[in-house]
Symmetry: C2
Subunit: 183 residues, 2 copies
């Protein structure tokens, strides 16, 4: 099965989950057209492109950080926002903002040419007052999951067990175990 | 000829330019897939979709505001940024920033099923310290073009004559006049 992503961190975060169900997950790094739109639309669009290139079962994932006080910014455009204003810019936008609620959402898609499935994972939390920690990637240094005191970057092992991505992939894996005939 | 856009402001800004060369420009409001990427890529992608729907000469336009100190943010994602953090958010990101240089860039695309052309228009300027004016739309209240003291929203008539969109469309019109056989 192929996980189509250019992001090695993402691949490494989930590869192990597949090994536990005896599925070999391979990273396929190809540049797909990523439409503007919500995560579900992006995932479905990428699945169809990826399958038409590979003609093998494919998995894609798209995620975003949605900050309540910023009306869902940066949302699906995390990569662009990180490359331009960065975590510093997001913290500046949040200066003096009391409501710091945010969530990460991931949508994982699976397509084998016949069955197309989407699985969603969400983790709630809040935006830290400053960057903390050096693990993880992306917005991990400024996100504190609910019920914890550390950012995802301070406790990357925790992230791997409670994150939006973990939750979405676990749903895919449960579904694969019960439904899909490659096991 | 069809200008494929859901933005009535954009249509009205350029319709007159076409009347002057005796071309009837119609607005065709359909939701196209807008890929993530640079303006040229977005325009080309939309041209092909629009033509396959209409089978008539189509024009598309994509534009963005690129702020130097923010590494080109908000760039091609102007609509999403306006809907989430808005002009207030951009001004907050620019608080205390001395280098306020920015430019608007538009890419206008034309496709008739055989010839595909892209035309670029740029207007340089700077980000105002606060919102000013009520004309125009989008980032017009915070953009002051080079050589002027007012924002595009304070002087919308000026905008129509010096803007990135005007410049890109004038290049298309010059090209239509000399090359294209509908005239």
């Amino acid at each position: 099965m192929y996980f189509v992503t250019g992001n090695r961190f993402k691949f490494l975060e989930v590869e192990k989950l597949f090994r536990e169900i005896n599925v070999v997950l391979r990273q396929f790094s190809v540049r797909l057209v990523e439409p503007q739109g919500d995560l579900e639309f992006i995932a479905e669009y990428k699945l169809k492109q990826a399958y038409s290139l590979l003609r093998k079962p494919v998995v894609v994932e798209d995620a975003g950080l949605f900050i309540e006080a910023l009306n869902g910014f940066p949302g699906p455009y995390s990569k662009f926002v990180l490359e331009t204003i960065g975590n510093e810019g997001v913290l500046k936008l949040m200066e003096g903002v009391v409501d710091r609620r945010a969530f990460f959402k991931a949508v994982v898609g699976f397509y084998d040419g016949e069955v197309l499935k989407l699985f969603e994972g969400v983790v709630y939390g809040e935006i830290a007052e400053e960057k903390r920690g050096s693990g993880g990637f992306g917005f991990d240094p400024i996100f504190i999951p609910e019920g914890y005191a550390e950012t995802f970057a301070e406790n990357y092992e925790l992230k791997k067990k409670v994150s939006h991505r973990y939750r979405a992939f676990m749903k895919l894996i449960e579904w694969l175990k019960t439904t899909y005939n490659i096991l």
